[in-house]
């Protein structure tokens, strides 16, 4: 069973288009994340939701809008795509580190976005 899944795996699109990436986790976690990994493998947090509530919103262009319809899903919509948006986008989830939970994160396989 896939724990954290993302679709699509690859996304090639032209500048100016609008696209969405979907993420689902079946781990029962409360918290979900979106990361951007650039060509140098640098991993940057973009957003985090806890129980559908936005809790981390790093300095990201407002062309990026996350949406969490329920705590198992966190989608990422990108408007007016630019060349610099080309990267691999990872979704992740974790349980809040209280009690026995340690807060390690579980990652999806990534979505490679190429903007031409």
């Amino acid at each position: 069973d896939t724990a954290v899944s993302q679709t699509p795996k690859y996304l090639v699109t032209q500048m100016g288009n609008d696209k969405s990436i979907k993420c689902e986790q079946n781990l029962g976690h409360d918290t979900m994340y979106w990361y951007k990994q650039d060509s140098k493998k640098f991993l940057k947090i973009m957003f985090s939701y806890n129980n559908k509530e936005l809790i981390i919103n790093e300095t990201v262009p407002n062309r990026f809008s996350p949406k969490s319809p329920d705590k198992a899903h966190l989608n990422l919509h990108i408007n007016s795509l630019e060349l610099g948006d080309s990267a691999v986008y990872f979704c992740a989830s974790s349980q809040i580190p209280v009690g026995r939970a340690r807060g390690e994160q579980y990652f999806g396989p990534g979505t490679r976005l190429t903007v031409t």
Binding site: T31, K41, F42, L43, I45, N50, I56, P97, Q105, P109
Partner: protein, 112 residues
Amino acid sequence: SQQGEEDPQALSIQEGENATMNCSYKTSINNLQWYRQNSGRGLVHLILIRSNEREKHSGRLRVTLDTSKKSSSLLITASRAADTASYFCATRLRDSNYQLIWGAGTKLIIKP
């Protein structure tokens, strides 16, 4: 924001040798975690060490934590070709339930 720095940036060793990677951080932490990323895949959690622990083992992995120096090391013993991957450290700051602060990663290549 980036807290962790890892060194070396890249490491190439022969199969069977031990590989050591280091991670330094800047502020007080609750725990430190190591992840592996195989080429074209998502990150996979390897091991977590709490701030009050000094050493942790898991199979061929050994992690140490020195909070006085704000540094950690990951040792992989008897390396295998399948260990070829990028390795990232991530710190959970004190009083933070949600965010991990990530290092830039060490690219490890195991030569057969």
